[in-house]
Structures are given as structure tokens and as C-alpha cells.
């Protein structure tokens, strides 16, 4: 079903723990791809994201912010698209490390992205804080959505 599967992304089914190569190594921990198909996967995705962020060296406060952002992104998938995928990945830029979270689905898409990013806007009867909240919790936020084709939200948080 997934068309865009890259490199080390793991196949469907129970995801193994990220293959950590040791904290002293310069190698980044392997990325982890988590299928999101039910609300139980929301908890699983945020736990996997927290594990990878901890392996990258994030401290307690950032771990909670990252886990909360993943929880909101995964909930959006379950709520609007029913199924999708969360990919968490260690990244590097200019010698700095960070984590990238990609939430991808083939759902209905968002007709008006600007509106969806406004605080208080929601079409699902939720609190309407999902996407604006995720943007505040992270350092970089990017969204691509096409009606009838799906949505990809990419967020990054950098180690300080």
C-alpha cells in the first residue's frame, strides 16, 4: 500500500526497537517507521519517538515535548485518515543533532491548510489545537496536503 518507502524504513507489522549503535558512536540511531492504524498505535508511536529522542541525547523536557507532538500527529492520522505512518529519524545539520518526525497518510487531505494552522480551528470536534500546537512544540514545521491524496507533516527538533 505504501508507495514511498525509503531506505531503512521498516516494513509493516510490529516495529522492532530502533537499532541503536551506541551513544559514543558518531552514527545516528536508525530510523523507526511506525504504522498508525488505531488509537493504541498513538501511544506506541510516541513511546518509540521518545526512545529514539532519548538515544539521540534529548533531555527529559524535550522528550515530553517530542512525545506530545507525536501524539497529536498520530491522533490526526487516526481521526482524519484512519491509517498512516509515523517515521522518527535522527538527523544532523552543521554538526548539530536533532530528530525528525514525519506523519504521513493517504487520507482526505486538508482543503485549507492555513485555516487548519489557526488556533481554535477543528473539523473533528476536537480542541482544534493539534497542528498549531505541534508547531509550537517543535523547532521546524512543514506541511504538504492535497485533497483526496493525503497529508505529510514534517517536524524537526534540534538538540541544544
Amino acid at each position: 500500500m505504501r508507495r514511498e518507502r525509503r531506505g531503512a524504513v521498516q516494513p509493516d507489522g510490529p516495529s522492532p526497537a530502533p537499532r541503536l549503535k551506541g551513544r559514543t558512536s558518531a552514527d545516528l540511531p536508525a530510523e523507526n517507521s511506525i504504522p498508525v492504524r488505531s488509537e493504541a498505535d498513538i501511544v506506541f508511536a510516541r513511546q518509540k519517538g521518545r526512545e529514539l529522542a532519548a538515544a539521540l541525547g534529548f533531555r527529559s523536557t524535550d522528550l515530553t515535548l517530542i512525545a506530545t507532538a507525536i501524539s497529536e500527529l498520530a491522533r490526526n492520522i487516526v481521526l482524519y485518515a484512519r491509517r498512516g505512518r509515523i517515521v522518527v529519524k535522527g538527523i544532523e545539520r552543521n554538526g548539530g543533532r536533532g530528530i525528525m518526525v514525519v506523519a504521513r497518510d493517504d487520507g482526505p487531505g486538508i482543503p485549507n491548510v492555513a485555516q487548519a494552522l489557526q488556533s481554535g480551528f477543528s473539523t473533528s470536534g476536537g480542541l482544534g489545537l493539534g497542528l498549531p500546537g505541534v508547531r509550537r512544540l517543535t523547532d521546524e514545521f512543514d506541511i504538504v496536503s492535497a485533497v483526496g491524496r493525503g497529508t505529510i507533516v514534517t517536524v524537526k527538533k534540534w538538540l541544544r
Binding site: 488509537e39 493504541a40 498513538i42 501511544v43 510516541r46 513511546q47 521518545r50 527529559s60 523536557t61 522528550l63 515530553t64 515535548l65 512525545a67 506530545t68 501524539s71 497529536e72 491522533r75 488556533s119 476536537g126 480542541l127 489545537l129 493539534g130 498549531p132 500546537g133 509550537r136 512544540l137
Partner: protein, 128 residues
């Protein structure tokens, strides 16, 4: 994974011990609201010390419990919001407005004692 609900005097104490799914949270809500009637509880304490994440759904469910509980005659107080959880909630704009909070279980019990004493004595207890 359900949340155990303890009855202590006129209070119900729910201690969350692990990450909760949406269904778990709704089960907690329904369990507490039913037990307020069964045990004629006047107060509810929800201890979220061990909760890893308070996202928008968890906050909304806690607000629902507090409001539904009040309609059933019980005050709810949330205890154990950890510093990093407080930060993530503020960043999300989820401030639990209108919901009582206290630092920990001990403070939560003191809060409920004062609140229910005041209610049972009418307005008199308000004067220092």
C-alpha cells in the same frame, strides 16, 4: 489497561500508572462518574504523576471528568502535573482552565477537605 479507582472516605482517588490510550481515558471518565453515584463521593482526585503525555485528548477528557463530576455533586482536583508536562501543556495552549489542581496527592486531599467543609457549612467557613 484500566486505572484503579480507590475509595477513601468521601473521595475517589484515581492514580494513573502508565501511558493511557483514548479508550483507557474514556473508561476512567465513565468509571469515575458512575462511582461518584455509587459511593456518594464528594471529591475526586486524579493523580497524573506517572502520565507520560498530556495531549489535547487527555486534557479534554480530564476537563470532561471535572465538569461531569461537578454536575454529579463532586469536586475534582488534578494532582501530579510534572514540570515538563506543564510546559508541553502551556505550549499546546491547554491550561486546564476551570479545573482544580494541586501539587500532589497530599495537597489534593487538603484542597478537597477545605472545599467540602466549606460546602457543608454553607457560607460561614469562608470568613477567616
Amino acid at each position: 489497561m484500566g486505572v484503579p479507582i480507590l475509595k477513601q472516605g468521601y473521595y475517589l482517588i484515581a492514580t494513573i500508572q502508565t501511558a493511557l490510550t483514548d479508550t483507557d481515558l474514556q473508561g476512567l471518565r465513565d468509571g469515575l462518574i458512575a462511582q461518584i453515584g455509587r459511593y456518594r463521593a464528594r471529591g475526586v482526585i486524579i493523580d497524573i504523576t506517572a502520565l507520560d503525555v498530556m495531549d489535547s485528548f487527555a486534557v479534554r477528557t480530564v476537563q470532561d471528568i471535572a465538569q461531569m463530576g461537578r454536575l454529579r455533586g463532586a469536586e475534582t482536583v488534578i494532582v501530579g502535573v510534572q514540570p515538563e508536562v506543564a510546559l508541553s501543556m502551556v505550549e499546546l495552549g491547554l491550561t486546564l482552565a476551570g479545573v482544580n489542581t494541586a501539587l500532589d496527592l497530599e495537597e489534593g486531599l487538603i484542597f478537597l477537605d477545605e472545599r467540602t467543609k466549606r460546602a457543608s457549612k454553607g457560607g460561614e467557613a469562608r470568613a477567616p
